[in-house]
């Protein structure tokens, strides 16, 4: 590694090294940064694409939940109404159920992501993000937790999932309680 005090001389020094040692290939700090930027820019794009797929899958799951309950769930709501539960009781229970499931999922996901990043150095994504033998010198990514990102994840997962469980329950909970007797 060669250090040059005057940044304006970097290109000249590199040219001189090339001339003196024709088998070497001087790489400037700016070249490394440009390479990193180019590499991470498109890889970041791919990761966004993968994330979009995951988000789409989540939206489909929430949509599936929002557009209907299973016959068994509808039957259960009918029974609860028949044995004296009000519509509001059913909705309260369903919102607790939705909130519990999504909160558990969220915290489990955050916990696993923390383990993955901080204890295994993101073993699943690291080779893909850094590349295999493209980059030099070797470097370690510095993981960090950003509360803002966690809050955004929370708002975009827990809240819609909880809402998605309430809407179909509300539709089912407004049935007459005697529907169970007539089945």
């Amino acid at each position: 590694m060669v250090r040059v005090r005057n940044a304006r001389e970097l290109a000249t020094v590199a040219a001189k090294i090339s001339r003196l040692h024709p088998d070497s290939r001087p790489v400037l700090r700016d070249d490394i940064l440009r390479t990193y930027e180019a590499v991470f820019d498109w890889r970041g794009g791919v990761i966004v694409l993968v994330l979009s797929g995951a988000l789409l899958a989540f939206v489909l799951l929430a949509w599936d939940k929002a557009t209907g309950l299973s016959a068994e769930e509808r039957r259960e709501i009918g029974i609860l109404k028949a044995i004296g539960w009000e519509t509001s009781d059913v909705l309260l229970m369903k919102s607790w159920e939705g909130a519990t499931v999504s909160l558990c999922g969220f915290f489990l996901g955050v916990f696993l992501a923390y383990l993955h990043v901080f204890f295994t150095s993101a073993v699943l994504f690291e080779p893909f993000l850094k590349g295999w033998s493209v980059l030099y010198p070797r470097f370690r990514l510095t993981p960090q937790v950003q509360l803002g990102q966690l809050a955004v994840l929370f708002v975009f997962t827990v809240v819609p999932y909880t809402m998605a469980t309430i809407v179909p329950s509300w539709r089912s909970a407004t049935i007459d309680p005697d529907a169970v007797m007539r089945r």
Partner: protein, 228 residues
Amino acid sequence: MIRLVEISKVYNAGRTNAFVAVDTVTLTIAARTVTALQGPSGSGKTTLLSLAGCMARPTSGRIFLEDKELTSLPERFLTDIRRRTFGFVFQQFNLIKGITVLENVMLPAYPTGERHGVVRARALELLDRLGLADKGPARVEWLSRGEAQRTAIARALINTPAVLIADEPTAHLDTALSREFMEIMDQLKDQGTSILIASHDPLVRDAAVIDRIVEMRDGRLVSGGGPG
């Protein structure tokens, strides 16, 4: 105790497929008695049970519990009365799968806001009384038909209702279990519970515990109507 005055129930009223399930029925059900509604399928027994138990509102006519008129009450108050006054045993038992016998029995008590420990103790006592003391932690899917039936009875009794309403309770039971069910009804009657059973099972009709038989056909009372 329960007074039905000229009640009718029409499903799909005003449409081409309108169906009169109960037609101008007047019936009084006295306290601490066992009344059996008899009649063929489609005669209106189940609908009459739903109306008497505040599960459905009549299209016309009035329903009184003691001297309080229920017909005009808002849904919320009606649900509260249904929860505290009536216990229901359904033909298909209608237990909720995936949870235990004890949890099923406690379900009707949750909206009352009563303390969990008190409700749990009462549920355990009921299970004990009905011979299901060791079945509390079991899932309902594992129960035999007789055990499921008794669990449904325990659930119906958890809020200590004054009236027990049973719709074709012996339809899925063999003779021995049907007799066992009627014996339980006898015990409940002795403890002061009024019972209203809809059934076309001769075993129910002939049971000694029955005080009165009301015959129905085509939504109307054929015999046994009037004061209880």
